[in-house]
Amino acid sequence: MSFLAIKDIHHTYFTKASATTALSEISLQIEEGEFVSFLGPSGCGKTTLLSIIAGLIKPTQGTILLEKKPITGLKNQIGYMLQQDYLFPWKTIEENILLGLKLSKQLNEKTKNAALDLLNQMGLSGIETQLPKQLSGGMRQRAALVRTLATEPKLLMLDEPFSALDYQTKLKLEDLVSNTLDSFGKTAILVTHDIGEAIAMSDRVVLFSPSPGRIHRIFDMPDELRSLTPFHARNHEAFSGIFQTIWKELDSLETGKK
């Protein structure tokens, strides 16, 4: 039995005008410590699936099991990072990163120190009393990562967390997130529309086809890329070959639609 089991998920959105099937027949197993990317054209239900796995949306059909237990009712097992940092502007950085601990009543001297240590490791020391608006975009996203990791989630969801950053910051942050997750042995799912990012960061890339969202194909990344940091993986000779393969598949999906 795998760490995370996604079993036969269907999801339909209802509006007054129509019923739109966003996801259909999604089944996937993810092992502990694995890094999986969801890649696909917009409107293929990647973010919906992420919300379902996180227990934020109840699927029309199907179940999600985390360590053999249904996901509903599990609290703080899953960390979620959004496209923007969504740090609360009226809270200081310290208040922001301790928010998850406070809400789940796990806040004590030990967990607080652990969170502040993590902030230091991310290269964000001495900013605890500052407000989010005083930091740069990259720093804010790092603080948001600390906030997500502070509750020690078993599974991390990354919903295009680098898409709002400039390219250089994005590359640096990819390395930082990848190293941090490796050192904590965390399982992570990344939603992205950036092929390069998916290849550089993941162990497996799941390609989705749109309307309704289905799993089109799963690519296993070769070991030589997995062992490298994202920045170095981008420069590896195997990288461009895989990039071309996935690019063609993605392209065929989009032309096939027309």
């Binding site: 899953i78 959004l82 009226w90």
Partner: protein, 268 residues
């Protein structure tokens, strides 16, 4: 290089100087309007171009002002009105915010009461005055209620709208931490709407003056509203104008204080 820097400095100096000059002119015309208004009032009253019985004159009002200060009646009545107004607008803002929170809590309830809110908002609240006085008695409670009721519905509508407009992604962050609805309200909804609540406070200051003065008209026992209605009944319009001017000054000061509070609370 040095010369260039000097010329920039000079330009900047000139710019600052032009700003000061403009500011002075604005202030000058403001004072001119003030003096022109009161002096023409005084002269036309003395020359009997306007009826001094109806329109009084600044000198008479000033004399009455000193008189009323000396016998202490102005201060005591101002105190009454001021207390009622402060309680009225605080109560109105507080109740409105609480109502908005209840509506946010239950989307179904908010759908159900929506038409009633529209009706209550459209209704002239001062028309409720007689009923309030009959039910709460002719004293502080009914006048404070007037001051509050006039602002409570509009506060509810404005604050509720701001609650609904909080970026849902903040709630998503909280929900991933397993936050309850109460926690979501405390951590995101309320603090994000704080600027709106403070700005309704500013509007409510003005509204509460209306409610309280009308309330004092009706109860007619104390306060500046009572001064106005009494002055009207005995044809002492100097008293009416005195009350009006005092209200104008005090209401302005109150508004400025709330604005100061706004600047302090919202450090942006």
């Amino acid at each position: 290089m040095k010369q260039e820097k000097n010329s920039v400095n000079l330009l900047h100096k000139n710019y600052l100087h032009s700003l000061t000059i403009q500011k002075r002119w604005v202030r000058f015309y403001q004072i001119v309007i003030f003096l022109l208004f009161f002096s023409s009032w005084e002269i036309s009253s003395q020359q009997r171009w306007i009826d001094p019985l109806l329109f009084s004159s600044p000198s008479k009002i000033w004399k009455l002002f000193l008189e009323k200060i000396q016998d202490g009646s102005l201060m005591s009545n101002l105190g009454v009105t001021l207390t009622e107004t402060i309680f009225g607008f605080l109560l109105g803002t507080l109740l409105g915010t609480i109502l908005a929170a209840v509506l946010w809590w239950s989307p179904l309830l908010s759908k159900i009461v929506d038409p009633y809110l529209v009706i209550l908002n459209a209704m002239p609240k001062v028309a409720l005055g007689p009923i309030l006085i009959v039910s709460l008695g002719p004293g502080y409670p009914s006048i404070i209620a007037m001051g509050a009721i006039i602002s409570v519905i509009i506060t509810t509508i404005v604050v509720y709208t701001s609650f609904k407009e909080v970026d849902p992604n903040y709630l998503k962050v909280l929900q991933t931490f397993g936050a309850t609805r109460l926690q979501c309200f405390k951590e995101a909804i309320l603090p994000a709407s704080f600027p709106t609540i403070i700005s309704t406070l500013k509007v409510n200051v003005g509204l509460s003056w209306v409610g309280v003065i009308v309330g004092e008209f009706l109860v007619s026992s104390r306060g500046l509203g009572y001064f106005i209605i009494y002055g009207f009944q005995v044809f002492n319009f100097t008293l009416v104008f005195l009350s009006l001017l005092v209200i104008a000054v005090v209401a302005t000061i109150m508004y400025q204080l709330v604005e100061l509070l706004e600047k302090k609370l919202i450090k942006e």
